[in-house]
Protein backbone atom coordinates (compact mmCIF):
# COMPACT_ATOMS: atom_id res chain seq x y z
CA UNK A 1 0.00 0.00 0.00
CA UNK A 2 1.61 3.29 -1.11
CA UNK A 3 1.01 6.35 0.94
CA UNK A 4 2.75 9.67 1.13
CA UNK A 5 3.33 12.26 3.78
CA UNK A 6 0.71 14.59 2.31
CA UNK A 7 -1.93 11.89 2.48
CA UNK A 8 -0.99 11.14 6.06
CA UNK A 9 -1.24 14.82 6.95
CA UNK A 10 -4.62 15.03 5.24
CA UNK A 11 -5.85 11.99 7.14
CA UNK A 12 -4.63 13.43 10.41
CA UNK A 13 -6.21 16.81 9.76
CA UNK A 14 -9.51 15.22 8.86
CA UNK A 15 -9.13 12.66 11.61
CA UNK A 16 -8.57 15.21 14.39
CA UNK A 17 -11.98 16.67 13.69
CA UNK A 18 -13.47 13.20 13.81
CA UNK A 19 -11.68 12.49 17.08
CA UNK A 20 -12.85 15.76 18.60
CA UNK A 21 -16.41 14.98 17.65
CA UNK A 22 -16.07 11.46 19.04
CA UNK A 23 -14.76 12.90 22.30
CA UNK A 24 -17.80 15.20 22.47
CA UNK A 25 -20.05 12.21 22.10
CA UNK A 26 -18.19 10.30 24.79
CA UNK A 27 -18.28 13.30 27.11
CA UNK A 28 -22.04 13.44 26.77
CA UNK A 29 -22.40 9.74 27.38
CA UNK A 30 -20.05 9.54 30.36
CA UNK A 31 -20.98 12.86 31.92
CA UNK A 32 -17.32 13.80 32.11
CA UNK A 33 -15.04 15.94 30.00
CA UNK A 34 -13.23 13.71 27.56
CA UNK A 35 -10.57 15.20 25.32
CA UNK A 36 -8.80 13.54 22.42
CA UNK A 37 -5.07 13.53 21.95
CA UNK A 38 -3.94 14.57 18.50
CA UNK A 39 -4.29 11.49 16.30
CA UNK A 40 -1.33 10.27 14.35
CA UNK A 41 -1.26 8.38 11.09
CA UNK A 42 1.12 5.50 11.18
CA UNK A 43 2.18 2.66 8.95
CA UNK A 44 2.44 -0.22 11.38
CA UNK A 45 4.06 -3.50 10.38
CA UNK A 46 1.66 -6.39 10.74
CA UNK A 47 3.96 -8.19 13.15
CA UNK A 48 3.98 -5.16 15.51
CA UNK A 49 0.23 -4.74 15.77
CA UNK A 50 -0.33 -7.15 18.68
CA UNK A 51 2.48 -5.53 20.70
CA UNK A 52 0.39 -2.72 22.11
CA UNK A 53 -1.20 -2.15 25.48
CA UNK A 54 1.43 -4.17 27.27
CA UNK A 55 1.74 -7.06 24.83
CA UNK A 56 -0.31 -9.68 23.03
CA UNK A 57 -1.13 -11.78 26.07
CA UNK A 58 -2.56 -8.97 28.19
CA UNK A 59 -6.27 -9.19 28.96
CA UNK A 60 -8.10 -6.41 27.20
CA UNK A 61 -11.40 -5.40 25.71
CA UNK A 62 -11.82 -4.66 22.03
CA UNK A 63 -14.85 -2.91 20.60
CA UNK A 64 -14.91 -3.54 16.89
CA UNK A 65 -17.02 -1.98 14.17
CA UNK A 66 -16.87 -1.63 10.45
CA UNK A 67 -18.21 1.12 8.24
CA UNK A 68 -19.91 0.82 4.91
CA UNK A 69 -20.69 3.28 2.17
CA UNK A 70 -18.15 5.67 0.76
CA UNK A 71 -15.81 5.16 3.69
CA UNK A 72 -15.09 1.48 4.23
CA UNK A 73 -12.95 1.04 7.28
CA UNK A 74 -12.42 -0.93 10.43
CA UNK A 75 -12.67 0.73 13.81
CA UNK A 76 -11.24 -0.74 16.96
CA UNK A 77 -11.23 0.65 20.46
CA UNK A 78 -8.83 -1.30 22.61
CA UNK A 79 -8.41 -0.80 26.31
CA UNK A 80 -7.14 -2.81 29.27
CA UNK A 81 -9.74 -4.93 31.01
CA UNK A 82 -9.69 -2.88 34.20
CA UNK A 83 -10.15 0.36 32.25
CA UNK A 84 -13.13 -1.15 30.49
CA UNK A 85 -14.67 -1.88 33.88
CA UNK A 86 -14.10 1.75 34.89
CA UNK A 87 -15.82 2.99 31.76
CA UNK A 88 -18.78 0.73 32.41
CA UNK A 89 -19.06 2.19 35.92
CA UNK A 90 -19.14 5.67 34.40
CA UNK A 91 -21.80 4.72 31.88
CA UNK A 92 -24.13 3.00 34.32
CA UNK A 93 -23.56 5.51 37.09
CA UNK A 94 -21.79 3.27 39.58
CA UNK A 95 -18.78 4.15 41.70
CA UNK A 96 -15.55 3.42 39.87
CA UNK A 97 -14.35 0.01 40.97
CA UNK A 98 -17.82 -1.52 41.18
CA UNK A 99 -17.72 -3.46 37.94
CA UNK A 100 -15.43 -6.47 38.12
CA UNK A 101 -16.99 -8.79 35.59
CA UNK A 102 -18.15 -7.97 32.08
CA UNK A 103 -21.49 -9.67 31.64
CA UNK A 104 -24.03 -9.02 28.94
CA UNK A 105 -25.19 -5.70 30.38
CA UNK A 106 -21.65 -4.45 30.78
CA UNK A 107 -20.74 -5.55 27.26
CA UNK A 108 -23.80 -3.78 25.96
CA UNK A 109 -22.62 -0.58 27.64
CA UNK A 110 -19.20 -0.99 26.06
CA UNK A 111 -20.78 -1.63 22.70
CA UNK A 112 -22.64 1.63 23.08
CA UNK A 113 -19.34 3.40 23.77
CA UNK A 114 -18.11 1.97 20.49
CA UNK A 115 -21.27 3.09 18.73
CA UNK A 116 -20.98 6.64 20.04
CA UNK A 117 -17.25 6.97 19.37
CA UNK A 118 -17.38 5.56 15.86
CA UNK A 119 -20.69 7.13 14.98
CA UNK A 120 -19.59 10.61 15.95
CA UNK A 121 -16.27 10.12 14.16
CA UNK A 122 -17.96 8.92 10.99
CA UNK A 123 -20.53 11.66 11.13
CA UNK A 124 -17.90 14.38 11.19
CA UNK A 125 -15.67 12.85 8.52
CA UNK A 126 -18.64 12.15 6.26
CA UNK A 127 -19.78 15.75 6.63
CA UNK A 128 -16.34 17.10 5.78
CA UNK A 129 -15.90 14.80 2.81
CA UNK A 130 -19.57 14.86 1.67
CA UNK A 131 -19.56 11.09 1.86
CA UNK A 132 -22.03 8.50 3.02
CA UNK A 133 -20.80 6.20 5.78
CA UNK A 134 -22.68 3.88 8.12
CA UNK A 135 -21.30 1.90 11.07
CA UNK A 136 -22.02 -1.75 11.72
CA UNK A 137 -23.30 -2.98 15.08
CA UNK A 138 -20.41 -3.28 17.52
CA UNK A 139 -18.73 -6.50 18.54
CA UNK A 140 -17.30 -6.52 22.05
CA UNK A 141 -14.41 -8.94 22.50
CA UNK A 142 -12.88 -9.71 25.88
CA UNK A 143 -9.67 -11.63 25.34
CA UNK A 144 -5.93 -11.32 24.93
CA UNK A 145 -4.78 -8.27 22.98
CA UNK A 146 -3.27 -10.42 20.24
CA UNK A 147 -6.47 -12.37 19.70
CA UNK A 148 -8.58 -9.22 19.63
CA UNK A 149 -6.39 -7.50 17.09
CA UNK A 150 -6.33 -10.64 14.96
CA UNK A 151 -9.67 -9.38 13.69
CA UNK A 152 -7.83 -6.52 12.00
CA UNK A 153 -4.65 -8.33 10.99
CA UNK A 154 -6.52 -11.20 9.33
CA UNK A 155 -8.37 -8.71 7.15
CA UNK A 156 -5.33 -6.80 5.92
CA UNK A 157 -2.66 -9.52 5.86
CA UNK A 158 -3.66 -10.70 2.41
CA UNK A 159 -3.08 -7.26 0.98
CA UNK A 160 -0.11 -5.83 2.78
CA UNK A 161 2.55 -6.42 5.41
CA UNK A 162 1.76 -3.04 6.90
CA UNK A 163 -1.39 -1.37 8.07
CA UNK A 164 -2.10 2.32 7.69
CA UNK A 165 -3.99 3.47 10.70
CA UNK A 166 -5.14 6.63 12.34
CA UNK A 167 -4.51 6.24 16.03
CA UNK A 168 -5.38 8.36 19.00
CA UNK A 169 -6.26 8.17 22.66
CA UNK A 170 -8.68 9.91 24.94
CA UNK A 171 -7.85 11.93 28.03
CA UNK A 172 -10.13 12.04 31.02
CA UNK A 173 -9.53 14.24 34.04
CA UNK A 174 -6.07 15.10 32.78
CA UNK A 175 -5.03 11.47 32.51
CA UNK A 176 -4.96 9.33 29.43
CA UNK A 177 -7.71 6.78 29.62
CA UNK A 178 -5.54 4.40 27.66
CA UNK A 179 -8.31 3.76 25.19
CA UNK A 180 -6.67 3.35 21.84
CA UNK A 181 -8.88 4.19 18.90
CA UNK A 182 -7.71 2.82 15.59
CA UNK A 183 -9.23 3.55 12.24
CA UNK A 184 -8.05 1.38 9.38
CA UNK A 185 -9.42 2.51 6.00
CA UNK A 186 -9.48 0.03 3.17
CA UNK A 187 -7.49 0.59 -0.02
CA UNK A 188 -10.43 1.99 -2.01
CA UNK A 189 -11.25 4.51 0.67
CA UNK A 190 -7.62 5.60 0.80
CA UNK A 191 -7.81 6.26 -2.93
CA UNK A 192 -10.88 8.40 -2.34
CA UNK A 193 -8.99 10.37 0.30
CA UNK A 194 -6.17 10.86 -2.21
CA UNK A 195 -8.62 12.05 -4.85
CA UNK A 196 -10.27 14.43 -2.41
CA UNK A 197 -6.92 15.81 -1.35
CA UNK A 198 -5.81 16.60 -4.91
Amino acid sequence: MNTDDNLKLFLETTGIQGFQHAAEGLSGMLGEQIMPTRPATRMVPLVDIPNVLGGPEREAVGIYLQSEGDLVAQFVLVLPFEKACELVDLVIGEAVGTTQVLGSMERSALGEIGNITTGYFLNRVATIMHWDARPSPPAVIVDMVGAILNVVTATVAGISDEVLMLQGTFVRAGREVEVMFWIIPDANSLEMFKDARS
Partner: protein, 163 residues
Protein backbone atom coordinates in the same frame (compact mmCIF):
# COMPACT_ATOMS: atom_id res chain seq x y z
CA UNK B 1 17.96 -23.01 33.79
CA UNK B 2 15.19 -20.49 33.21
CA UNK B 3 13.16 -20.89 30.05
CA UNK B 4 13.84 -18.40 27.29
CA UNK B 5 10.65 -17.42 25.48
CA UNK B 6 11.06 -16.93 21.74
CA UNK B 7 7.98 -15.12 20.43
CA UNK B 8 6.69 -16.30 17.08
CA UNK B 9 4.86 -13.28 15.69
CA UNK B 10 2.36 -12.90 12.90
CA UNK B 11 3.64 -14.59 9.75
CA UNK B 12 6.83 -15.79 11.42
CA UNK B 13 8.53 -19.17 11.49
CA UNK B 14 11.00 -19.85 14.28
CA UNK B 15 13.26 -22.84 14.76
CA UNK B 16 15.29 -23.73 17.84
CA UNK B 17 17.58 -26.45 19.11
CA UNK B 18 18.46 -24.71 22.38
CA UNK B 19 17.07 -26.79 25.26
CA UNK B 20 16.14 -23.74 27.31
CA UNK B 21 14.05 -22.16 24.57
CA UNK B 22 10.26 -22.06 24.43
CA UNK B 23 8.65 -21.07 21.14
CA UNK B 24 5.56 -19.00 21.91
CA UNK B 25 2.73 -17.77 19.72
CA UNK B 26 0.81 -15.31 21.86
CA UNK B 27 -2.86 -14.46 21.52
CA UNK B 28 -3.84 -16.64 18.57
CA UNK B 29 -7.29 -15.55 17.45
CA UNK B 30 -8.17 -16.71 13.97
CA UNK B 31 -4.47 -17.39 13.33
CA UNK B 32 -3.15 -20.92 13.63
CA UNK B 33 0.03 -21.94 15.38
CA UNK B 34 1.55 -25.10 13.92
CA UNK B 35 4.24 -26.71 16.04
CA UNK B 36 6.66 -29.42 14.90
CA UNK B 37 9.19 -31.38 16.96
CA UNK B 38 11.81 -33.99 16.18
CA UNK B 39 12.32 -35.86 19.49
CA UNK B 40 15.59 -37.45 18.36
CA UNK B 41 17.34 -34.38 16.95
CA UNK B 42 15.57 -32.19 19.54
CA UNK B 43 14.62 -29.61 16.93
CA UNK B 44 11.50 -27.54 17.46
CA UNK B 45 9.73 -25.23 15.05
CA UNK B 46 6.62 -23.12 15.04
CA UNK B 47 4.62 -21.32 12.37
CA UNK B 48 2.19 -18.46 13.15
CA UNK B 49 -0.01 -18.30 10.04
CA UNK B 50 -2.61 -15.58 9.50
CA UNK B 51 -4.47 -16.67 6.39
CA UNK B 52 -5.09 -19.94 4.58
CA UNK B 53 -3.55 -18.96 1.26
CA UNK B 54 -2.38 -16.01 -0.76
CA UNK B 55 -5.00 -14.74 -3.18
CA UNK B 56 -2.72 -12.83 -5.49
CA UNK B 57 0.23 -15.15 -5.73
CA UNK B 58 2.61 -12.89 -3.85
CA UNK B 59 4.23 -14.75 -1.00
CA UNK B 60 7.13 -12.62 0.14
CA UNK B 61 6.35 -13.67 3.67
CA UNK B 62 5.61 -17.42 3.35
CA UNK B 63 4.75 -17.72 7.01
CA UNK B 64 1.68 -15.50 6.60
CA UNK B 65 -0.15 -18.24 4.74
CA UNK B 66 -0.80 -21.82 5.75
CA UNK B 67 -0.20 -23.19 2.23
CA UNK B 68 3.31 -21.74 2.05
CA UNK B 69 4.11 -21.61 5.73
CA UNK B 70 3.74 -25.30 6.52
CA UNK B 71 6.15 -26.47 3.76
CA UNK B 72 8.55 -23.69 4.75
CA UNK B 73 8.42 -24.78 8.38
CA UNK B 74 9.29 -28.35 7.37
CA UNK B 75 12.10 -27.10 5.14
CA UNK B 76 13.58 -25.05 7.98
CA UNK B 77 13.24 -27.95 10.39
CA UNK B 78 15.13 -30.19 7.97
CA UNK B 79 17.86 -27.58 7.53
CA UNK B 80 18.26 -27.61 11.31
CA UNK B 81 18.76 -31.35 11.32
CA UNK B 82 15.25 -32.71 11.80
CA UNK B 83 13.98 -35.74 9.94
CA UNK B 84 10.57 -35.30 8.34
CA UNK B 85 9.50 -38.84 9.21
CA UNK B 86 10.09 -38.17 12.92
CA UNK B 87 8.19 -34.90 13.13
CA UNK B 88 5.44 -34.60 15.72
CA UNK B 89 2.90 -32.10 14.43
CA UNK B 90 0.35 -30.24 16.54
CA UNK B 91 -1.84 -27.22 15.92
CA UNK B 92 -3.82 -24.64 17.87
CA UNK B 93 -5.88 -21.54 17.14
CA UNK B 94 -8.33 -20.87 14.35
CA UNK B 95 -11.01 -19.26 16.53
CA UNK B 96 -13.85 -17.10 15.34
CA UNK B 97 -13.33 -13.89 17.30
CA UNK B 98 -16.29 -12.01 15.91
CA UNK B 99 -19.55 -13.46 17.07
CA UNK B 100 -21.72 -10.38 17.53
CA UNK B 101 -24.88 -10.29 15.48
CA UNK B 102 -24.33 -8.27 12.34
CA UNK B 103 -20.57 -8.38 12.71
CA UNK B 104 -18.96 -9.57 9.55
CA UNK B 105 -15.73 -11.46 9.47
CA UNK B 106 -14.97 -12.41 5.97
CA UNK B 107 -15.60 -16.09 5.45
CA UNK B 108 -14.66 -17.16 9.00
CA UNK B 109 -10.91 -17.05 8.56
CA UNK B 110 -10.20 -19.12 11.65
CA UNK B 111 -12.12 -22.12 10.38
CA UNK B 112 -10.57 -21.77 6.95
CA UNK B 113 -7.09 -21.66 8.44
CA UNK B 114 -7.73 -24.89 10.29
CA UNK B 115 -9.18 -26.64 7.26
CA UNK B 116 -6.30 -25.50 5.08
CA UNK B 117 -3.74 -26.67 7.61
CA UNK B 118 -5.29 -30.13 7.75
CA UNK B 119 -5.41 -30.29 3.95
CA UNK B 120 -1.85 -29.07 3.52
CA UNK B 121 -0.50 -31.50 6.09
CA UNK B 122 -2.44 -34.32 4.50
CA UNK B 123 -1.03 -33.45 1.09
CA UNK B 124 2.47 -33.50 2.56
CA UNK B 125 1.71 -36.85 4.21
CA UNK B 126 2.25 -35.37 7.65
CA UNK B 127 0.14 -36.76 10.46
CA UNK B 128 -1.48 -34.21 12.74
CA UNK B 129 -0.94 -35.63 16.21
CA UNK B 130 -3.12 -33.25 18.21
CA UNK B 131 -5.01 -29.99 17.90
CA UNK B 132 -6.90 -27.42 19.97
CA UNK B 133 -8.77 -25.32 17.47
CA UNK B 134 -11.97 -23.44 16.79
CA UNK B 135 -14.28 -21.90 19.34
CA UNK B 136 -14.40 -18.20 20.09
CA UNK B 137 -11.49 -17.57 22.44
CA UNK B 138 -7.88 -16.66 21.92
CA UNK B 139 -5.04 -19.02 22.77
CA UNK B 140 -1.35 -18.77 23.61
CA UNK B 141 0.60 -21.82 22.51
CA UNK B 142 4.04 -22.85 23.76
CA UNK B 143 6.46 -25.45 22.41
CA UNK B 144 9.25 -26.48 24.77
CA UNK B 145 12.44 -27.36 22.96
CA UNK B 146 13.95 -29.55 25.69
CA UNK B 147 11.19 -32.16 25.58
CA UNK B 148 8.76 -31.24 22.81
CA UNK B 149 5.84 -30.46 25.13
CA UNK B 150 3.26 -28.22 23.54
CA UNK B 151 0.80 -26.37 25.75
CA UNK B 152 -2.23 -24.21 25.12
CA UNK B 153 -3.66 -21.56 27.37
CA UNK B 154 -6.80 -19.47 26.98
CA UNK B 155 -7.72 -16.50 29.14
CA UNK B 156 -9.20 -17.64 32.40
CA UNK B 157 -8.24 -21.27 31.81
CA UNK B 158 -5.44 -23.47 33.02
CA UNK B 159 -2.54 -24.13 30.71
CA UNK B 160 -3.00 -27.63 29.31
CA UNK B 161 -0.80 -30.00 27.37
CA UNK B 162 -1.56 -30.70 23.74
CA UNK B 163 -0.89 -34.43 23.67
Amino acid sequence: MADQALPVGLGEIKISKSPGDVLVAYGLGSCVGVGMYDPVAKVAGMLHAVLPQSLNGTEQVPGKFVTTGVPKLIEEMEKAGALRSRLQVRMAGGANMLTAPGAKQAFNIGERNVLQARTTLDTLRMRLQAEDVGGTVGRTVRLFVNDGRMTVKALGSQEKALA
